[in-house]
Amino acid sequence: MTDIPRELTSLEAAAQAALEAAADATALEQVRVRYLGRKGSLAAVLRSVADLDPAERPAVGKLANEAKQRLETALALRREALEAAARAAALAAERADVTLPGRPIPMGRLHPSTQILRRICQIWADMGFQIYRSRDVETEAMNFELLNIPAHHPARDMWDTFYTTVDGVLLRTHTSPGQIRAMREYCPEPIRVILPGMCYRYEQITARSEIQFHQVEGLAVGRHVTMTELKGTLVSFAHRMFGAGRRVRFRASHFPFTEPSAEMDVKCILCGGTGCFLCKQTGWLEILGCGMVHPAVLQNGGYDPAVFSGFAFGMGPERITMLRHGIEDIRYFWANDLRFLEQF
């Protein structure tokens, strides 16, 4: 009777123990080579099976193969366990404090005036008003006379003007000269334009007044342009700019280049109309001036006021931004302090 079975038993036990003891992939490989490798202990036992009596061979061979299979399974299990442990250790080592701040992405931004100008122009573009640009340095005729504001007329008091050292040349006080330029360029075609631009006023720079500011002017001229349309168009604008439910009112006013003239107010966006510091207790915020183009201005633009009519309006984008964001100092706009700009 051969003692191979007993040998196998003790070999298997030793191999199992060695597998258990292997602490990492290298140690495990050594164990595999020692017991399961081609020159390993088990291979030696298997080779000795060939020397046995043929009658004994099948039973012993079976035993040996079974032992080999068991060890190979155990090896695979052990390998998996070690890999899992290694992965876990690696992950643990890479563990981060997820509460640390993210890497800052330096973001670019548009100036708040550009942002509001775009918003305003976009709304008007949707209504068919195209952008028309005109110059900052203007003639007195374009800025005043042709807009029905004669020299020395009391209406001139409405604009504090920067004049230049060249006679008859000034910094435009409003974007309205663009009305004349657009009319003269497009006459006799109908017109729907929006005229954004920088304007200048002879003012002390304070929290409430600036020497330069943007204005957005609008002009529509045609054979059938009416005041109901002026109102309809501006109400649409106000609803998109300040919210669909925002109440709007029109007040009679005076501008030399429109008649009838009006000012449009919206219900105060801060108090909703009950009265607060923003609306000076009136419940309303003045948003823009508007009116039907004065016959003299149509005429100066080349249109026959008996046939053509038009409406015009003008608003201050910085003022709208100030109202929307509760900004109380207009000087922030050109001071370009990042602590202001970065909030937009």
Binding site: D136, T164, I191, T233, R249, W334
Partner: protein, 828 residues
Amino acid sequence: MRVPLSWLKEFVEIPLPVPELAERLTLAGLEVADIERIGLPDAALPWDRERIRVGEILEIRPHPNADRLVLATVEYGGGRPKTVVTGAPNLIVGDKGHKVAFALEGARHWDGYSAGRDITTLKGRKVRGVPSDGMVLSEKELGLSDDHTGVLVLDPQAPVGMPLAEYMGDVVLDLEITPNMARCLSILGVAREVAALTGGRVHIPPAQMRADGETVEGRVAVAIADPALCARYAATLIAGVTIGPSPEWMRRRLRLAGIRPINNVVDVTNYVMLEWGQPLHAFDYDVLARRARGVPRITVRPARAGEMLTTLDGATRPLSPERLLITDTAGPIAIAGVMGGAETEVTEGTTAILLEAANFHFISIRKTAQALKLPSEASARFGRGVPPSAAVPAAMRATELMRELAGGTIARGVADCYPAPQVSSVVTLTTEAVRRILGMDLPRAEVQRILTALEFLCEPQGETGLRVTAPDHRLDIGTGVVGAADLIEEVVRIHGYDRIPVTDMADRLPPQRDAAAVDPEERVRDLLAIAGLQEILTYRLTTPEREAALVPGNGQVSPRPYVTLANPISADRVVMRQTLLAGLLEVMAQNLRLRERLRFFEIGPVFLPGSGNELPAEPRRLAIGMAGRITPASWRDPDPCRTDYFDLKGVVETFLQGLHLRAVGFDPATHPTFAPGRTARLLVDDEPVGVLGEVHPQVRAAFDLPAAPICLAEFDLDALLARVPLTYRVAAVPRFPPALQDIALVVDEEVPAAELTGTIRAAGGSLLVEARLFDVYRGQQLPRGKKSLAFSLVFQAVDRTLTDAEVEAEKRRIVEAAAQRLGAELRA
């Protein structure tokens, strides 16, 4: 215009509560900027109806223990009269019968002794041993003015015991008057508006005077030299007046309207001006007669060279021929409509008054008031236009009031020179014209109703028309198509803007026009913001000195002309900028005090004067400024490196790529603002369009910037955008793999990288799709004066995978070309 409601009510009924009235006026174009209540509920300090009443002084006795104090016994209509201690200098021992504002214990009033405005509550107390549990109030204590020099003395008619709030509480409407509403610079004008808005009627005080004297002709003669400058000159005469204070009611109304009371005659001129809108001037008639040595002959004429006048304010003013004067035979006596002369002024001793009610041309008055810096209530009204028709009724009203308040006898008649009487505007208005402008139908009857309520005369004309004649007080109504527009505004203003329906635009859309000039500019803004830059907008007004600081060292202001302000408001905003760089550097300097990383851009015009009277060119520029760390410091990278030229160039390249500008080049350049050797010109299609680089250290210092690289660029945006292609081709994505090859070429230090790159690209032919410079090496492994530039080359064919042999041949050709042209050697 401050309008006391009590005054307005004399002219028109007010059937609405005040807030509603204010809203109606505001909506109709007479903006009520403020509603001030005096003594009434909702006032800053309402007068207690129980505790503040009209009182009458029964007796004034000396205070037993104090020389400066008196004991006043006051009847106030509530039980026994009270005796109070007072120190008011206008309550004198022995006097009695004064009507006063009397406060009882517990009444709240303004503190008369406080420097500011503080409310205090009246408590009974002993004053120098005498108990006092009431108080006779001053104007300051009532909140009427800051006057606390004596107690307020009411008119004798004031009913004793009446709550003071009832007797003289009031509301003042502060109205913003637009230039077209100049007629509302008067109580009467505002009353007309109220009447039209409420359907009420205006009660005009009778323009009559009780004239018992001899006729005015023979006492004064008036003449006008140029009716274009003075349309009318009317004068009345009253003799035997006694100058003294006006009654309290008149002084109160003047104060509420914002005018300081002076004496009965002057107060009347102001009072009637406020009432009628017609400025008046009172001369001392006896002085005029003395100057004339007989009958004064008044002539309105322009000043003559060399004439002078000492005006009411004591100033002696030389007068140029643009000044319109009131003169007599002895010379100037007043600057027409602006200020009277000192010599003919009404004084305490005056006994006869020549009252002037004239009409001067608004432009003449405006010019004079502005030139002499003498704005006044009178010149404000003349300067906005006063109807000549108002002169005589106002003169008569004022003269009669003087007679009532100052006594005397009025000479019969008015000396009235009115060479060219006012012509009323007549306008034909049809309902079609109304509909054409308003877009809504208003029946003729409604148009007529509104215009009639505004005192226009309306006669129906044809089926739909009205022949409308403007009333004399409407100087703002034109003729023809302008007149029609003027009337349509009146109609819709009174009809109510809130009743205008809302419609969409019905007209056809105008021809759409190319927005090429606008859209790419916005694209540039987007690209730069995407690249991480913050947009700024700076003042377009600057100084030549600030722009001169962009040129180091010379300290000279450029001799080239600027668009220069004739009337700058501050010394640091005097010319229109010619570059964006100065403003940008200032913004950078400010922000660098707070931030360690700046990325800015600005887009906007600069202003380059043309020759002569030409308007300046206003080309658009783009400026970029970068400084500080390349990324914000963080815990991952506490010390990122500093921005330099190449960070700026990266931004420029990126946005040029975004604009699909291909033929872009950067040439070494010199520019006074920039550091030599770190400056380049930007070329697009071989045309220079601007400069970029690091700021010259001296310029940096001039702008208070720290000694670290400041990167700056300024481009001609118009030139740049003119080259932006309308469209561009997009290549197919290759189906075959590319072949990648890295080569390092050693060249002389002087060879610019761009030249070597160009040579490689040219030699590489169509298979070379990319040649990216990824390393520059100088050092021990190379000979002195040499550098190694390493390129990553990508070869690609559209129709096949390239063989190693093909790639090798391409590479060899590149290396040979580089060797031949630039003496490059392949680095082993």
